[in-house]
Structure formats: structure tokens, C-alpha cells
């Protein structure tokens, strides 16, 4: 399987940005992060000691609707758990994440937004890293489907997702905490437990660095797994930015 492609700091005017393309679903997302910025209105009243995380999802060809609002809420909940909003300079300021869907199939109104959720999560993580927003940990997410016979499918395409009996998006942090669980369709607890184990093994392999600090590379090495490719993308960019330093050592 081909790994996802991603690059960092594509936009020059935002504090951080990233683009991410998921090979299975074909979604191409461009994300920008501005942080910390002054929020225009009094949106800080609820939690004055923390930064406010705001997420905007913009579809490529229409205006944002109910589905986008829904997925924005999910993303905001997940991301505000990993952003360290009490670092110096962040309380009462905003972390604004804008995600533009620039490629892939359109998510029609009423369609499941779960198919694009992992791509949106990965893009926002990469953009947050690029903006050097303090995070407590990284995470990785995956989309799983269960077909009518009860078999678990990974790497779903959009057509697979339509045919599946249930869809699950699970995100795990780099310390293997379950960070997000969104499911839809008909399934029972046993199925969900199997899905969770499978998703954990997909996300987990890459999250635990080996004893020498390197990422352990399994058979499906080189960034076909979410977390590993995040690390790789970041390393590539850092090597480029600090080539003057690294070359001279």
C-alpha cells in the first residue's frame, strides 16, 4: 500500500501549515494554523486560563454546512485535549485551524463525514507541529469499516465506505490512549472491540520508538502507517530548515 503524502509549511503567511493526501480515500487537505492570536470577540470567557481552539473546515466547492459544523466540533474536542493551552502566551488567545478540502470526492450533505476525519486530524496535527504550538503528545487516527459479513476492512475507499455496515474512526495518542472514537452504523460491542484492537495495532506500531530512538520499522515500514509518516515529514522539513547547522556538524 502506498503511504500518505504530506508536506509542511507550504503557506508563507500563516504561522504553520501542512498539506496531506490520503491515498485510500483520495482526500487532499490543506491546513493552516495561526497561534497564538488575539480573538476578536469575547470568546475566552468560559476558560480564561486556557487557549481557545477554533477549527474551520472548508469544502472545496460549496460553503460549509451542517456536516462541516459537526466535524469541526469533533476536531475541536480532540485538538483541545492535546494542545497545551496554558503555555506562556496562550491563555485567552486563540489557536485557529483552517482546513481546506482541496481534492477528493465531495462529501455530500447527509453523507458520512467519518471518511475524511482521519485526513482532517492528520492535517491539523501536522499544521500544529509546523506552527510550533505546544502539544502534550501527537496522535494518529485511522478509518475502519465493517462489511455486512462482519469482516473488518482497513484502507477504505469512498465506495467501500458507502457499502460498509458500520464505520469507525479511532485516534490514539503516541502514548496509546484512546483519544477519539466515532462510530456509525449497526454493530455490536464485540465488533467494536475487534475494531479497536485492530486500530490500535495500526496506530501503535509507529508510536513507540525503538531503544535507539529510531522508529521501529515493521514490514510495512517507511511511512505507510500514520504516526511514522508524521515523524518522517517533520524530520524531512527540519533537516531542510537546519541544513546549515546539520551540515556543519
Amino acid at each position: 500500500m502506498v503511504g500518505p503524502t504530506a508536506s509542511l509549511s507550504n503557506l508563507s503567511r500563516s504561522d504553520g501549515s501542512a498539506s496531506y493526501k490520503c491515498p485510500a480515500t483520495g482526500y487532499d487537505v490543506l491546513g493552516a494554523v495561526n497561534a497564538p492570536i488575539e480573538l476578536p470577540a469575547r470568546r475566552d470567557a468560559l476558560k480564561p486560563e486556557e487557549a481557545t481552539v477554533e477549527v474551520f473546515v472548508k469544502p472545496g466547492n460549496t460553503t460549509a454546512g451542517v456536516g462541516e459544523r459537526h466535524v469541526e466540533g469533533i476536531l475541536r474536542n480532540v485538538l483541545s485535549k492535546v494542545v497545551l493551552g496554558r503555555e506562556r502566551g496562550f491563555p485567552r488567545r486563540g489557536v485557529v485551524i483552517t482546513l481546506g478540502i482541496v481534492g477528493g470526492e465531495t462529501v455530500d450533505r447527509g453523507d458520512s463525514y467519518l471518511t475524511i476525519l482521519p485526513a482532517l486530524l492528520h492535517t491539523s496535527l501536522l499544521a500544529l507541529l509546523s506552527a510550533a504550538v505546544p502539544l502534550s503528545m501527537t496522535f494518529s487516527a485511522t478509518l475502519m469499516g465493517v462489511d455486512k459479513s462482519g469482516a473488518i476492512i482497513t484502507d477504505l475507499s469512498a465506495a467501500d465506505a458507502k457499502a460498509a455496515a458500520s464505520l469507525h474512526v479511532l485516534a490514539f495518542t503516541s502514548k496509546n490512549h484512546l483519544l477519539l472514537n466515532e462510530s456509525e452504523g449497526r454493530f455490536d460491542f464485540d465488533t467494536w472491540e475487534q475494531v479497536r484492537e485492530r486500530a490500535l495495532s495500526i496506530c501503535q506500531d509507529m508510536t513507540t520508538p525503538g531503544p535507539d530512538g529510531d522508529v521501529t520499522m515493521g514490514e510495512e515500514a517507511d511511512g505507510s502507517r500514520p504516526e511514522g509518516f508524521v515523524r518522517e515529514t517533520v524530520e524531512d522539513r527540519l533537516y531542510k530548515d537546519y541544513s546549515w547547522k546539520i551540515d556543519s556538524i
Partner: protein, 332 residues
């Protein structure tokens, strides 16, 4: 030090990479925090340091600090004691309202916070004028006003040297990471002549423009660099732009020391069209996009003069020798 250690948020900083001096307590810079309690093994290590940003681990054994160097294109966020190049937007009774970074609230510069300024004699700055200033306070919390000053209130002097209005010259935009590098390089270049942080472009430019009277440079942490070559007479504009372009190209293309030397060497070589075209071609190799018409900026090459000539004429005692950014570098 072999390969740089790259950490992602949540990664623990291996204790083998920490400075081992015990004399003063370990200081944590940006990107490294104590997030978790140590596990129940007191002998192993007493603290768990966790990275909170993606970056390269940087340690300083002498000052016993550890920090992460993150991506360099970040927006500038004012920090106390940073040196910045600000542009006056408008003036009010007590303050000059200055722009430090675009699209952010204006910083306040007191009408009297200049060296030797009194109510009778104070600089009359207009909108658009430039000042080299130090961030004196950033306030607390959101919506706080950033204050900048051109004078040390304790001594009444423009400390570190060179603070004050910038007259003449031209400002170029660079990335904030590159401006931090320039400040580090120029503040320590007095001690040893080696390339600091892989930067030789300033020293090379200094040698090159020695014959034209040298140049003045002021580096602001807010990603601005001000260059003035007014000593160069009729070549002043050309050399100012050449210096600025060299710095911008070094920044954009992440040039290493060798390429920086090549870039600087490719500047002048006479004033006739043929050689300036050659410069154009050389630059085009290094910087295919960023230089619109380099053929306009050839520099003259005349006789040798000593390095002392690099020091600019001291006008009214405001200007420090050669580099303006002698300031202590404040690490992020």
C-alpha cells in the same frame, strides 16, 4: 555530536543528551517541559523532560540549558529584551505607535524613550520612519500592549548600542529564524572569526564592500534587517540592495557557507554590462526565482583599504562600530 536528535511532542528527552554539569540548575527553554511525574524509580533520573514541539534538541553545556529548535518560519511574537526594527505608524501626545509585525496591535514607543531626549529635544518621527528598539515589556495576558524603548531607563544611554531612529538605508524582510541566526553570528563575531551558525555571508560582504566604505546593518528579531551603505557614494543604492539580496537569498535557499561565499563573490566585478550580466547569471544559478533584475546592481571594485574602513563614520555618536546588532542574543 553526531546526528541531531529530533523530537516530536510527547517524546521524552533522553537523559544522555542533557548537559551533565551539576553546578547550576538545568534551565528549560522553549519546547521542553516537565509534563509527567517520574515513575517510582528515584535512582534512575529525577525528572522526565518531555518535548512539546517538534524540533531539534539543542543543549548548552556552559549555561546548562536545554531547548528545542523548531521550524524557522514562525511569526514573531514579542519577547522582553528582543531587539526589533519597528516602523512608526503615527504619533500621539505620549507615544509613537509603531508596527512591529503586520496585522497585530501596534507597539508603544514613548516620545521620550530615546537617548538624551527631553521635552524640548526629542526626535520628531513621522509615520513611516524606522526605529531600532528593544522590547521593554509585553504586558500580561491577551490584549496587553507591547512597549518598546530605545534607551536603557537605568542609565539613560542607548544600550545596547545603536538603538534609536534609523535614517537612510533600506529594510528587507527575512525569516525570524534567520534573523536570530544573524544576531547570534554578529554578536559573537567579535570573539572569533569562524563561521557561527554556518553564516559567513556577513563577513564576506564586509570584506567585499570594504573598499566602498563598508555598510551598517541592524537586525531585528521580528524578521527585518536594515542595511545602509551610504558611505559608498554613488554606489550606495546598488550595494544596499546587493547586501539585502544576498541575505534574503541565503535565507530563502538555505545556502551553506560555501554557497554563501560563491554568492558574495558573484556580486561585483566591475561596472560594465558584460560583467554585470555575469553576475546575473551566477545568481540565477543559485537563486532562480527571487532576483528580478540583478543586472541593475553591479558593484564597483576598487582598491584595497583596511578593515577599519568598514566602521562607519560616527554621526553624533549614535552609531556603534560596524555591526549594529552587537546586542546580546536572546535565545528563543
Amino acid at each position: 555530536m553526531s546526528t541531531p536528535l529530533i523530537l516530536l511532542p510527547g517524546d521524552e528527552v533522553p537523559s544522555s543528551h542533557l548537559p551533565s554539569t551539576k553546578s547550576n540548575p538545568l534551565k528549560l527553554g522553549s519546547g521542553v517541559r516537565l509534563l509527567s511525574q517520574p515513575s517510582a524509580k528515584p535512582a534512575a533520573s529525577n525528572h522526565i523532560l518531555t518535548a512539546t514541539q517538534a524540533g531539534i534538541l539543542a543543549t548548552d553545556a556552559k549555561r546548562n540549558t536545554v531547548s528545542l529548535q523548531s521550524f524557522s518560519n514562525r511569526r514573531y511574537i514579542p519577547t522582553t529584551n528582543d531587539l526589533v526594527i519597528a516602523q512608526v505608524h503615527h504619533s500621539s501626545i505620549d507615544y509613537f505607535h509603531c508596527i512591529v509585525t503586520p496585522h497585530t496591535a501596534q507597539a508603544l514607543l514613548g516620545q521620550l524613550s530615546f537617548e538624551g531626549a527631553t521635552k524640548k529635544t526629542r526626535p520628531m518621527l513621522k509615520g513611516g520612519d524606522l526605529v531600532y528598539a528593544r522590547v521593554s515589556s509585553v504586558g500580561v495576558g491577551a490584549g496587553a500592549e507591547v512597549e518598546i524603548t530605545c534607551v536603557n531607563p537605568a542609565t539613560g544611554k542607548a544600550e545596547p548600542g545603536g538603538l534609536g531612529p534609523l535614517t537612510g538605508g533600506m529594510v528587507f524582510d527575512i525569516s525570524t529564524g534567520f534573523s536570530a541566526r544573524l544576531i547570534r553570528a554578529s554578536s559573537s563575531s567579535a570573539d572569533h572569526g569562524d563561521a557561527i551558525d554556518g553564516l559567513v555571508v556577513l563577513a564576506e560582504l564586509g570584506k567585499k564592500l570594504e573598499s566602498l566604505g563598508g555598510f551598517e546593518i541592524a537586525v531585528g528579531r521580528n524578521g527585518k534587517v536594515w542595511i545602509d551603505c551610504s558611505a559608498a557614494g554613488e554606489n550606495a543604492i546598488k550595494s544596499t540592495i546587493a547586501v539585502g539580496r544576498c541575505l534574503q537569498t541565503t535565507d530563502d535557499k538555505d545556502l551553506n557557507a560555501m554557497d554563501q561565499k560563491k554568492l558574495v563573490a558573484s556580486i561585483d566585478k566591475g561596472t560594465d554590462d558584460v560583467s554585470s550580466l555575469r553576475w546575473a547569471r551566477n545568481i540565477a544559478v543559485l537563486a532562480p526565482l527571487s532576483i528580478p533584475s540583478p543586472a541593475q546592481y553591479p558593484l564597483e571594485n576598487s582598491g584595497n583599504r583596511k578593515l577599519a574602513d568598514l566602521r562607519p563614520r560616527s554621526k553624533a555618536g549614535i552609531f556603534p562600530p560596524f555591526w549594529r546588532s552587537l546586542a546580546s542574543c536572546s535565545l528563543p
